[in-house]
Assembly symmetry: C2
Homo-oligomer: 320 residues x 2
């Protein structure tokens, strides 16, 4: 049910992308920019933005450019992250840098970044609301970079604490969800209390989303995930699961071992399951999503509010 509704929202975004980001010269650059975008994806961030606008009485069609902008920012981070992670696959497709080369992928990512701001700044809206949205999105992009830097830095450390992981995830993942729903509300003229509630909703559920994403990386097979199972393990990522396990004295031989075999990765996953670390993370993810949903209590009841709550639940129920 919720999946069908989310598919309808995703379709709006899918249809808007070629309109706001047509293939123009240099064609090959725009094709590289559109590569992952055209592969689909769940469009959770832009859908949440459209729903937030509806939930505060706004019109989704008025905030569609902002929704596309948020999806472009998300995709820009995917392109650059894949370079850094030396990833071969994303959404079942060859990554941009594998297909076009590293230099081209850097530029294609940069161009998506500026297109996001360009599309947002061209949105028909009161200038004051637009400035607030642009300020919000730019601050969030800085946060994402800080989170990415922290994440990379963690890979070289053995002693990453849970609080540090939480700060990293908030910046790297949660603020973009929070920004999406907040922008939907700001651009629809919502009052401060409602705007704040939606920000909190996005922030908490965004943290839950990322913790669950780390769980998915371990438990979902490649054919569903669209990329290698246990990729985070061999990259040496300090996920909440790994941090919990290390604190319990669990040995994870495959951690950070780029040439680990499938059976070594399987052994690591078994160890993480048996130490209760996957359950620990799963419970945390549920807790954050519940906290996020609770923030919505100040919003008047509506169909859009119901779907937002359904979206939050979906974030920790999805299979990939």
């Amino acid at each position: 049910m919720i999946e069908e509704i989310l598919q309808q929202k995703a379709k709006l975004v899918d249809e808007a992308i070629p309109k706001f980001l047509p293939i123009t010269p240099p064609d090959e650059m725009y094709k590289a920019m559109r590569h992952l975008l055209d592969a689909g994806g769940k469009r959770l961030r832009p859908s949440a933005l459209l729903l937030a606008a509806e939930a505060v009485g706004g019109k989704p069609e008025n905030v569609l450019p902002a929704a596309v902008a948020v999806e472009l920012v998300h995709n820009f981070t995917l392109i650059h992250d894949d370079i850094m992670d030396e990833a071969d696959l994303r959404r079942g497709l060859t990554t941009v840098h594998k297909k076009w080369g590293v230099s081209s992928a850097i530029v294609a990512g940069d161009a998506l970044y500026s297109k996001a701001f360009e599309i947002l700044s061209c949105t028909k809206s009161e200038p004051q609301m637009l400035v607030e949205s642009l300020e919000l999105l730019s601050k969030t992009c800085t946060d994402i970079c800080e989170g990415q830097w922290m994440d990379m830095n963690f890979e070289t450390r053995k002693d990453v604490k849970e609080e540090e992981y939480m700060r990293m995830v908030e910046k790297k993942t949660a603020v973009l969800f929070a920004t999406a729903v907040k922008m939907g509300a700001v651009l629809s003229g919502a009052n401060r209390e409602i705007v704040r509630a939606l920000w909190d909703f996005g922030r908490h559920t965004g943290v839950g989303f990322q913790i669950y994403d780390d769980v998915i990386d371990l438990i979902t097979p490649e054919e569903i995930l669209g990329k290698a199972q246990g990729g985070d393990i061999i990259e040496g990522k300090r996920t909440l699961i790994v941090i919990h396990a290390l604190s319990k004295g669990v040995t994870i031989d495959a951690l950070g071992k780029s040439n680990a075999t499938r059976s070594e990765i399987s052994a690591a996953i078994t160890a993480l399951r048996e130490s209760g670390s996957i359950d620990y993370a799963m419970n945390k993810a549920v807790g954050f999503v519940e906290e996020g949903k609770a923030a919505l209590k100040v919003l008047p009841d509506s169909e859009a509010k119901k779907i937002l709550i359904g979206l939050a639940d979906y974030m920790i129920e999805r299979k990939y």
Copy 2:
């Protein structure tokens, strides 16, 4: 004389950078972001922005955040370009990716990019003017990416035409100069005719600047240039000089030969001089700067206008 005045403007920008971009956690990321910024540089773009504001009757201190934003965008492109060019040196310093690694340099560049928009969006100004500036800067960043993509693409082609080079240079270099002076005028409330004149001034002189920059790469020794002499040659860059020489049937053995010796590079430079290609480019650069200066005739006479004209001349007289 003009150099002294420009140094005073540069000093304003130098002092503003640590205020708008302080070193905060994660410290190392902000140090990487500040690495090239702190090395100085001529600050021609932000100085031109401050002068444009003055020339239309505005206050330079009001547009200082916009000036810093433009300098940050310029530095973001330097960090990413150095990765793509595999450059070791910039402004006499180790490049960011050589010092911190490629992944860190990608993130540091991305963060400078978002900080530029963040600083600009926080500028105290009428929202409408701010939205116009943000729209302008984001469109310009897209242009820069398109120009960079074209430039990289040219390296694999033998048949690049002068018109194609001009289009590439306009996007890669000239629009940021044009945006700088236009933003200075827009944020100071100048009328449309004046704004247009400053845009044309920046665009034409920016093209002249880049053509002259390509000349400098050939004629300036490493100890003054802060990077290897003839670097463009071994990278295979299709500069106006190279395009002219190739059209005259000149053979440039070192072109695109990354392991070319110093004497091979010297031979290439001699060949380009003897074919008249360096003089050809130099004359073109002068022509563009003159066209740019002519665009300023609609501006009322002022000290700031005089300095802008001096800045335009300086762009093709500087030694590095």
